[in-house]
């Protein structure tokens, strides 16, 4: 008789995510289910709103990566406004804003959420494994993180008026130029930011290699990788076409971004509000893939800035391509942060940035599809409007949704490695957290989680009887209850 093991990551996901493990008679884990319990209804309630509102409303799906939503919607409404090519100034402002956003989000994830695990160790005292302890015990490191994030947020503020949910993109361009005084001020600081990002790449590398066998085996799942890529398959975060490679690195697809609907389908399962995207020419069981920093460094053939490119080559020669270990996400993420810092540096000295030619217009049409690489992976916004400029159809596939099946596979893998007979162990509880956290599931876009989560594990028989439960209290003590 098969059983269910329910893992309830209550606090850090604010009740928005839970895990159930399905166990067979021989105590083998057959399936892991990460339940997303949150539902918004955006696709419906946006109907009837004027299309130019989209970048403002839709960014409020996520306060961690609002700029990605703002710009994905903006790219879609550019098409609706018939703006086939933005002015160089508008395009560069958007790219600058987007690099700043990926930089701040990656800094947040590493320093505020993941670093406490990596620095103190996955099995360290849970009551001290958090940002507060990091600040108290490693103030210099924590401050670097705070300052990298601040730099990104300030650039966003300078362009959009606010650090979170500002107003910048309009159909066919941008609403204001960047103040030259602000540009000079950022130029003075970008050198330090680059240096700190370089140091962080070295730190993550060291931490990964210190315990290499554990890191490599942990949650290891062979998966395809999907992202958009730029010309010559360079790493590209703002605009490009899809590239998909299989688990061995062989090319599966190159596909125009605006034809996402012939590349992807989404399966609905009864136990989660988050859908399961898969490649349309595969079955749901074989067509799933990974997105995000790990996938992007697998699909791209180079990074167009020198320091990050050097770091990428080192990362791939050390680990072997394509990389399939979820814990390598942290390393890949910091290489991307370094790339963002470098790219911000060169954009800040670009003369186009001071131009006030910010808007173009063309012949209006009724449909737009915006695809962008958000910090956590590929983000797709698709809209249709009517003759009165009202939205009639909206479809969003957010980054974390693409990783849905991959996260379940990694959880299953970790549980299979560490479920000890019929009883739940504190170790298992801890490791399931770490596996989910590596994907940096966002959190607001899909689950509201902010990284770590204390768990309540319950062992259930198929009739629903609770056999055993285990939880961790505020002091990090594990308690058993029947």
């Amino acid at each position: 008789m098969s059983r269910r093991v329910a893992i309830d990551p209550v606090t850090r996901v604010e009740g928005h995510g839970k895990v159930t493990l399905m166990v067979d008679d021989d105590n083998r884990i057959t399936e892991a289910r990460l339940h997303i319990v949150e539902f918004r209804g955006f696709e419906k309630f946006i109907q009837g709103r004027p299309y130019w509102e989209l970048p403002l409303v839709v960014q409020r799906l996520c306060g961690i990566c609002p700029v990605s939503h703002h710009l994905a919607a903006a790219k879609a409404i550019d098409q609706i406004a018939g703006a086939t090519e933005l002015t160089p100034a508008a395009l560069k402002l958007r790219r600058l804003m987007h690099f700043a956003q990926v930089l701040q989000s990656h800094a947040l994830h590493f320093f505020h959420l993941a670093a406490p695990d990596l620095v103190f160790g996955f099995d360290s005292d849970v009551s001290r494994r958090n940002l507060v302890a990091l600040i108290q015990q490693h103030e210099a490191l924590a401050l670097q993180g705070v300052r990298i994030r601040k730099f990104g947020q300030q650039i966003i503020e300078a362009i959009s008026g606010k650090r979170i949910h500002g107003i910048a993109a309009i159909p066919g361009g941008m609403n204001a130029a960047l103040d030259p005084g602000a540009v000079r001020e950022f130029q003075d600081r970008v050198g330090d930011i680059k240096t700190w990002c370089e140091q962080t790449v070295r730190l993550v590398r060291k931490l990964y290699l210190q315990n290499r066998p554990f890191h490599e085996a942990f949650g290891h799942t062979d998966a395809s990788s999907l992202s958009i890529v730029g010309g010559a398959d360079q790493l590209e975060l703002y605009d490009g076409d899809f590239k998909v490679i299989d688990a061995d690195g062989a090319l599966l697809h190159r596909h125009p971004a605006r034809q996402y609907h012939s590349l992807l389908r989404e399966q609905v399962k009864s136990w989660s509000y988050m859908k399961f995207p898969f490649l349309a020419d595969h079955s749901p069981a074989t067509g799933w893939y990974r997105v995000g920093p790990l996938a992007r460094l697998n699909t791209c053939c180079g990074i167009p800035t020198p320091l990050a490119e050097q770091a990428r080559v080192d990362y791939l020669t050390t680990l072997g391509s394509p990389v399939q270990s979820p814990l390598a996400f942290h390393w890949a993420r910091m290489i991307e942060a370094l790339h963002c810092a470098e790219a911000i540096g060169s954009l800040l000295s670009d003369p186009d940035l001071s131009s006030d030619e910010l808007r173009v217009q063309g012949d209006k049409c009724h449909e737009g599809i915006g695809v962008i690489e958000a910090p956590r992976g590929t983000l797709i916004h698709h809209y249709q409007i009517n003759d009165d400029d009202q939205v009639t159809m909206a479809n969003l596939i957010v980054s974390t949704t693409h990783n849905n099946q991959a996260m379940n596979e990694s959880i299953r893998q970790v549980a299979a490695q560490h479920l000890d007979g019929r009883s739940l162990t504190p170790e298992l509880l801890n490791l399931v957290e770490v596996a989910i956290r590596a994907y940096d599931p966002c959190l607001s876009c899909a689950t509201h989680a902010m990284g770590k989560m204390p768990l309540l594990l319950a062992l259930q028989s198929t009739s629903g009887n609770l056999l055993q439960s285990l939880s961790r209290d505020a002091d990090g003590h594990i308690q058993y209850a029947d």
């Binding site: 419906k44 859908k275 509201h448 990284g451």
Partner: protein, 180 residues
Amino acid sequence: MTEPRVKVATCSLAGCFGCHMSFLDMDEAIVPLIQRIEFDRSPLTDIKQIGRCDIGLVEGGLCNTENREVLHQFRAHCNILVAVGACAINGGVPAMRNHYPLAECLAESYLNGVNVVNPQIPRDAELPPLLEQVIPIGQEVRVDYFLPGCPPPAAAFMEIVSAVLEQREPQLEYQQRRFD
């Protein structure tokens, strides 16, 4: 003499986490601040059950029954409960779904969505029931302070926590009273 410490709990219900991010936007000022406050249950810590707190900061309105439970726990454990941001105060963007019946919103995503396979409305013991309407937290419990903005600026968070530390009424400068 050690300075007084206040216990702070925070949570995100039907919000976007932007309010929490805005709290972190106080940047380096977080370093001296955390010498004076102690986080209880919050997405920044691993504490699962809320304990007795001086102040609870609640982001987001209520969209499902679990949100409601968490909110009541916060009210029961916090001396001062603050509705943070447009969503907690008015429902915000998630409350835009109130213009449509819940069943239509679900159908749009899971039955009529582009390229959807196995169309069905998710239903599982692990999924807490959704409320028919998204409601502001003040409709469910007594709220002591409302911090406006989407999100409120970092300085507004600093002010409310400082006021509790100094045992005085918070004062929001004009610039900190945002409605966007």
